[in-house]
Amino acid sequence: MDILSIIFIVAGLFFLIVAAIGVIRLPDMYSRSHAVSLTDSLGAFLMLVGIALHEGLSINMLKILVVLVLLYILNPVIAHATVRAALRSGLKPLEKENS
């Protein structure tokens, strides 16, 4: 069971690192918000599932799953609010033409 949870945690860390690289590397604010949503959806999921497997079947595992459900419901709302505020206050998205 420990091996499985280590695999999950390492996979989650991979996505978190990719998201951090993206936040530093990507050119404009709208693209960076995609990198943050990458962390929120898959990185946090894999990390928390790995931790829940390590914890075993108990009330704490149930609470970790509650945190996961909360993250999945609340994070799209936050990302949408941020991006909408940026658009409404007149921040122009970068249009890149390399096809």
Partner: protein
Amino acid sequence: MKVFLFCVLVLLAILIGAYLYRVLQGPTIFDRLLGHNGISTKAIILLIVMGIYFERVDMFIDISIGYALLNLVGSLAMAKYLEQKEHS
């Protein structure tokens, strides 16, 4: 397992540093807001891993649930506030 969890904690702290670079450096105010959102998600994960590391999950998990809910309210309030202003 203990050593592995310690490495995970250190790595998460370094990743928070990457987001902090975006908060300090960001050209517009929305980049800073985005960096704050990323930091809070990392902090939720960091708190749970810390709970496993110190073997007090029952305490740290409640803190992280409260942090997730408060983070929603704070981020929404900041986004709503900045929406009404003219930033470029």
